[in-house]
Symmetry: C2
Subunit: 139 residues, 2 copies
DNA sequence: ATCCTAGCTTAGACTTTGTCTAATGAAAGA
DNA sequence: TCTTTCATTAGACAAAGTCTAAGCTAGGAT
């Protein structure tokens, strides 16, 4: 299920131990770590890995189109290995839990022509918010 | 048309010259300045105003619910005086131009029950992207 | 009109997140 | 194995925002 590494191999991209550890950290469903969380996890397996390498590698993976860079809160960016299948996000206002979600139909259809200000609109990304099951209980 | 100041008066909120200048800078449609842009504009009318006051005042206005804090690019936050009417945003990938837009219908309806992961979903915000008329010409 | 006080403003130190640099190290083809 | 090119590293730097402690002021009380 190491899908991300398989995809990365397809590019001419020197595979170093550092890059492998970072890619393995990122692999999985509903994974949306910050650079710092990735560094922390990578350090458990490779204590000498540097912060600069984590940032370099993440930025390269984004440039290759194999991971997504997300900005939800204006604090740290989050990195999403699910770059293959278009999706949106659902975030818990209580604990920050974050899920990949899919809408019924194409969000571009929800923006009528007279609301487009002459733009050629090509993309829409949606952030849904609410309370996860655990946080609903707590409330 | 100084709508924001009118709204701010309704809260118990000491009206200082600094706060008035910041509120006046923010007033208007399709205004989405960064804190730094607001500081720059405020300084034209009140050169001694401090960066800390701009940040303090913006955070208070957000807490009062009279302006919105927006995060698009993971760089600086933007502040939106249009907090009364629900809306979304359309951004030009070329020049960064940003428009308020309205969808046909309620975005919460586009998220089916089996995509909600048990969350109580209360809000959706959409960022549309594309090219503005000027940037389409340039391309 | 003056006083008083809670709360506002200020400069600048500090924090967080991320980028850059220049020296060293190592992957991969010849 | 050798070589070249690209990757890694520590630490300096930068941008955006928060915090602190000292002085100032808006607006109510007298
Ligand atoms: Mn995702
Ligand atoms: Mn807006
Ligand atoms: Zn939660
Ligand atoms: Zn444009």
């Amino acid at each position: 299920m190491s899908d991300l590494i398989t995809r990365l191999r397809r590019h001419q991209w020197r595979m170093t131990p550092q890059r492998r550890v970072i890619a393995e950290t990122l692999d999985g469903a509903h994974v949306h770590y910050t650079a710092d969380e990735i560094l922390e996890r990578a350090c458990e397996r490779m204590p000498e890995i540097s912060r600069a390498t984590v940032y370099n590698t993440l930025n390269e993976m984004v440039a290759l189109g194999e991971i997504l860079e997300l900005n939800f809160d204006g604090r740290s960016k989050r990195y999403d290995p699910n770059a293959e299948h278009d999706h949106h996000h659902l975030i818990c206002d209580g604990c920050g839990a974050m899920k990949d979600v899919h809408t019924v139909g194409d969000p571009l259809d929800w923006l009528p022509g007279d609301e487009r200000h002459g733009f050629a609109v090509t993309e829409a990304s949606i952030t849904f918010r609410g309370l996860c099951p655990e946080c609903q209980q707590a409330a």
